[in-house]
């Protein structure tokens, strides 16, 4: 099956507009001004969905969809954000961060969920010129993926699922809300299906293979960090998102990073950013450079970060090259030290000259003891990615490693 990129863009835009309606409803009901930070549609393995949600307790509302659009949705708040909203919405209800929310608080959240999700879904129904039925809202307070409607992941036939995610943020307060929609895979895939000769179509099965190759690339990059630093690492999450190109910078956290940016050239081509928050960069440098350094990192410390970026980049893209039986060059690492949005903006600007949307592959490398975390953003040129997918032989999916010994 081939996926029409234009259709994926259209549904992403519907989700963005739906989230804007939902945010407007939240503002209208609470007086708390909110805006939509970012909306993306992500193709994730079930394991990665669990990683994304893992370790967080959500308070929220689940609503099922049926009719022209079938699937599951959830409006989720962290507990503090939910308490702030209930304080405004239902004065007198018990909704502190520590106590269980009472019936009135839960009722208020269910109603706001109902109204917000109604706003989210209306645009889809209009576009599809059909009815989208919503189930009554169910209040939930759960950990991790359990905030998603019961069985949403188990019911998915495929190993991968589409997840629409919108993050809404309050202007003046510490309030974040998330809308998640998991359309039924088969039905949604049919909505995206393009004819075989469609110019912008991307083969779906190969996209999922490429997603898996990306996770394996992130795992190799993580192993390389471990080899250099002696610190055990793991890949926390790896996902392939489809986002409007102008939203790419907003996918980075609002934080200062030190790291490297490289352009990779070939099939696929694009950009790779490997970013550490400042304390993490210090930890990495202390673990790799056996000498006292100038503050903050000194030339040798910066050189270590550059070299680590170089080695992690190879770990990331070599598997693609070996499976595709091609070579992918990359530029020497460019050291960057700035806000995440400022680092990703020039990349989005360059790619935005020829594409409206980006396939963004973001991975997080973490350590069990929390010594450091690293974020990897791979943003391929859409045309080059399509060429790579067209030439990908699925049966070579495991041929990630080169056989050095047979050559030397």
């Amino acid at each position: 099956m081939r996926v029409d990129i234009q259709s994926l863009g259209t549904y992403n835009r519907l989700a963005q507009e739906g989230a804007e309606h939902a945010a407007a409803s939240l503002t209208q009901m609470t007086g708390i001004e909110t805006y939509v930070d970012v909306t993306n549609v992500t193709l994730m393995s079930k394991r990665d969905v669990e990683d994304v949600f893992g370790g967080t307790t959500f308070v929220g509302v689940q609503i099922g969809l049926d009719g022209g659009l079938s699937g599951q949705t959830a409006l989720a708040f962290d507990r503090g954000s939910a308490a702030s909203i209930v304080d405004v919405l239902v004065p007198g209800a018990t909704a502190s961060e520590d106590d269980e929310f009472d019936d009135m608080a839960q009722s208020g959240l269910k109603e706001i969920g109902n109204i917000m999700m109604g706003g989210f879904v209306d645009g889809w129904a209009d576009y599809l010129t059909t009815n989208v039925d919503m189930t009554p809202p169910t209040y939930v307070e759960r950990d991790g993926t359990d905030v998603l409607p019961n069985g949403a992941l188990e019911r998915a036939d495929e190993e991968h699922v589409f997840v629409f995610e919108s993050q809404m943020t309050a202007v003046d307060e510490e309030i974040d809300a998330y809308i998640y929609m998991l359309p039924e895979y088969g039905a949604f895939a049919e909505m995206l299906e393009a004819s075989d000769d469609h110019e912008d179509a991307i083969p779906m099965d190969k996209l999922t293979v490429f997603d898996e190759m990306t996770r394996q690339g992130a795992e190799r990059a993580a192993q390389n960090v471990s080899s250099m630093t002696g610190i055990e690492t793991d890949v926390d999450v790896s996902r392939l998102s489809f986002v409007p190109i102008e939203d790419v910078p907003n996918t980075a956290r609002d934080e200062v990073y030190l790291g490297t940016v490289m352009e990779f050239k070939g099939t696929p081509g694009g950009y790779l950013a490997i970013l550490f928050d400042e304390p993490s960069a210090r930890t990495i440098v202390d673990a790799t450079v056996p000498m006292e350094l100038d503050e903050p990192l000194g030339d040798m410390g910066e050189s270590a970060i550059e070299e680590l970026g170089n080695i992690m980049t190879s770990g990331f893209i070599d598997g693609w090259a070996n499976v595709l039986q091609t070579s992918i060059d990359h530029t020497p690492p460019e050291l960057v030290h700035d806000m995440g949005t400022a680092i990703l903006s020039p990349i989005a600007g360059r790619l935005g000259q020829s594409q409206e949307y980006a396939f963004l592959m973001d991975s997080a490398v973490v350590t069990p003891e929390g010594e450091f975390n690293c974020e990897i953003y791979a943003i391929p040129d859409e045309r080059k990615l399509k060429e790579a997918l067209d030439s990908l032989l699925v049966e070579r999916r495991d041929e990630l490693e080169a056989d050095t010994e047979s050559l030397f």
């Binding site: 250099m228 050189s303 070299e307 170089n310 190879s314 770990g315 070996n322 070579s327 050559l407 030397f408």
Partner: protein, 119 residues
Amino acid sequence: MPPQVLLVDDSDFMRNLLREILEENFEIVGEAENGVEAVELYREHDPDLVMMDIVMPIRDGIEATSEITGSDPDANVIMCTSVGQEEKMKNAVKAGADGYITKPFQKPNVLEAIDDVVA
């Protein structure tokens, strides 16, 4: 007299690491930050071994290796790179490289690869 080695890598950090591994048993006769400097220093010192990075500014390590082995077929060059792509390795073989070490490396791997080439 210990064998003479030329280190070629655009990273200070990596040259420093290689120097620490090698200086006990080898004489480091020069350090280059790109392929152009590597060729110049090779001609100047005629070392027994070159440890050559691939991804470097100005001229990459495969081009530099090709030029060095083109003028001195007996040159010993070990690619010492983060790149683990089979096509790149084939290009390195064509350029005349004698060995290939993938970063990140451990000291024993480096010494073993050198033994294989210069023993």
